[in-house]
């Protein structure tokens, strides 16, 4: 989209943490104020850079979780036990602290309401984050594009944004969950890894020409993309964002 192509080199800038939202015992949403933020599109990410006193640096990419909202940018971060950056962000940062970030980045794994649908979003674990940005952007725009979300997590405790997804359901948005490891008593929804059979039940049919966005750990994304192609969906209509072996 020529008019929205970003021109110019990306530069690092300081963002201030203004709010922390605890989503689960290991997931927090950090809301930053980024001076001069030009706005962003759902699905884009930022690069975050941390520098130690001896100049050691570590850099990571995090999907933007929020719909565009002035200079506010929300990142939902899962604390990885062996992580180098995520434990610092979730354990050490306090409101008022600053970090370096650059963005918004990305043009491929992006959805705007004007692009229409039907839209099928398939999330594995923390892969829900950029897809939630799409759902939030859709809601903020009052858009009613037919949108389906299939969200896979290990257990109910691992689900993020549950209440909000509940509240946004309807008006063209349907949400289905699958809990792969542990289900609560009385669970009637899916209880296994995403497979072709599940996708065939949940996704629009190929004839409807849906647009797919799938995000999560690399093996998850790989399995979903393969299954969708086997179900007859057009490979070019399937956009993937792999998070690597650990999912972020």
């Amino acid at each position: 989209m020529a008019g929205t192509a970003l021109l110019g080199r990306l530069t690092w800038q300081l963002a201030e943490l203004v709010e922390v939202v605890v989503e689960t015992p290991v997931v927090k949403t950090l809301v930053f104020d980024v001076p001069g933020w030009p706005g962003h599109r759902a699905g884009q990410h930022v690069d975050v850079r941390l520098t130690a006193e001896d100049s050691y640096q570590a850099e990571r990419s995090y999907s933007i979780a929020s719909a565009p909202d002035s200079t506010r940018v929300a990142l939902t971060i899962q604390r990885l036990e062996d992580g180098e950056v995520s434990p610092y962000l979730t354990d050490e940062l306090r409101p008022g602290d600053k970090i370096e970030l650059r963005g918004p980045i990305g043009g491929y794994f992006v959805w705007e309401p004007s692009e229409g649908g039907p839209l099928m979003l398939v999330a594995g674990g923390s892969g829900i984050v950029p897809l939630m940005a799409m759902i939030r952007t859709r809601a903020a725009a009052g858009n009613d594009t037919e949108t389906r979300l299939l969200y896979s997590a290990r257990s109910e405790d691992d689900l993020i944004y549950r209440d909000e997804l509940e509240a946004l359901s309807g008006n063209g948005l349907t949400v289905a969950y699958t809990l792969t490891d542990l289900q609560p008593p009385g669970w009637t929804s899916y209880a296994r890894r995403v497979d072709a059979e599940m996708l065939a039940e949940v996704a629009p049919r190929p004839a409807e020409q849906p647009r797919f966005f799938t995000c999560g750990p690399t093996p998850f994304v790989e399995a979903v993309a393969e299954a969708l192609v086997r179900l007859g969906h057009e490979p070019r209509a399937i956009k993937t964002e792999r998070f690597g072996p650990t999912g972020g």
Binding site: L50, T51, A52, S55, Y56, Q57, E84, E92, D97
Partner: protein, 201 residues
């Protein structure tokens, strides 16, 4: 300098003897997996290791033949150009001197070549006289595919990109032929103690 994040240290080992750490490196207890392409999975039935190029008769070992060669335990520090160093890594492997024993060659250079197409170059004298091995085990276990198994090169006195994973042979050459990384930005020699990371360093 960039903005310093209060309290950020990263996952680096403390209490390290600085004399063991080349300039610009940080010691880690992890073993990061870095790659240039998909992990090859060559079955041991099809695997072989060859010495080719400027020698009278190319040599070739099957996996059984290779494993029947005298091998040794090697403990060395390794240094990756991406700035992590790992101290006292323990390997099991066959010395390159064993593989080259009795070979007469006028070659001064060697190219390591691997499954998947990766190559890396060195002067021949940098992999002889006890400086290099073809290793098949790490910390007592068979070398995992993502770490270069069934066998990889171990050339600890150069940055670790010069220890080819999934190595299948050595090509002896009279001319130096920059390899996969050396042709695009990485230093042709790659001595960590002189911080020879990039072309022109």
């Amino acid at each position: 300098m960039a903005f310093v994040s209060r309290g950020f240290r990263g996952r680096r080992a403390a209490d390290v003897d600085p004399a063991r750490v080349p300039p610009g490196q940080y010691v880690t207890a992890d073993f990061p997996v870095l790659s240039a392409g998909p992990t090859p999975h060559t079955s041991l039935e099809l695997w072989d290791f060859s010495i080719i190029g400027e020698l009278e008769e190319p040599r070739r070992w099957t996996w059984e033949e290779f494993r029947a060669l005298p091998s040794e335990e090697i403990t060395r520090d390794i240094h990756c150009v991406t700035k992590w160093s790992k101290l006292d890594t323990v390997w099991q492997g066959v010395s390159v001197d064993t593989l080259l024993a009795g070979i007469e060659t006028s070659a001064e250079y060697v190219t390591q070549y691997s499954d998947g197409g990766y190559t890396t170059n060195l002067p021949l004298e940098d992999i002889t006289a006890g400086k290099a091995w073809v290793v098949f085990a790490y910390e007592g276990e068979p070398l995992a595919p993502e770490h270069g198994g069934p066998a990889r090169m171990l050339v600890p006195h150069h940055y670790f990109w010069k220890s080819a994973k999934w190595v299948r042979g050595l090509r002896l050459q009279s001319t130096d032929e920059p390899g996969f990384r050396e042709t695009n930005g990485y230093h042709n020699h790659g001595d960590p103690w002189q911080e020879q990371r990039y072309s022109g360093d």
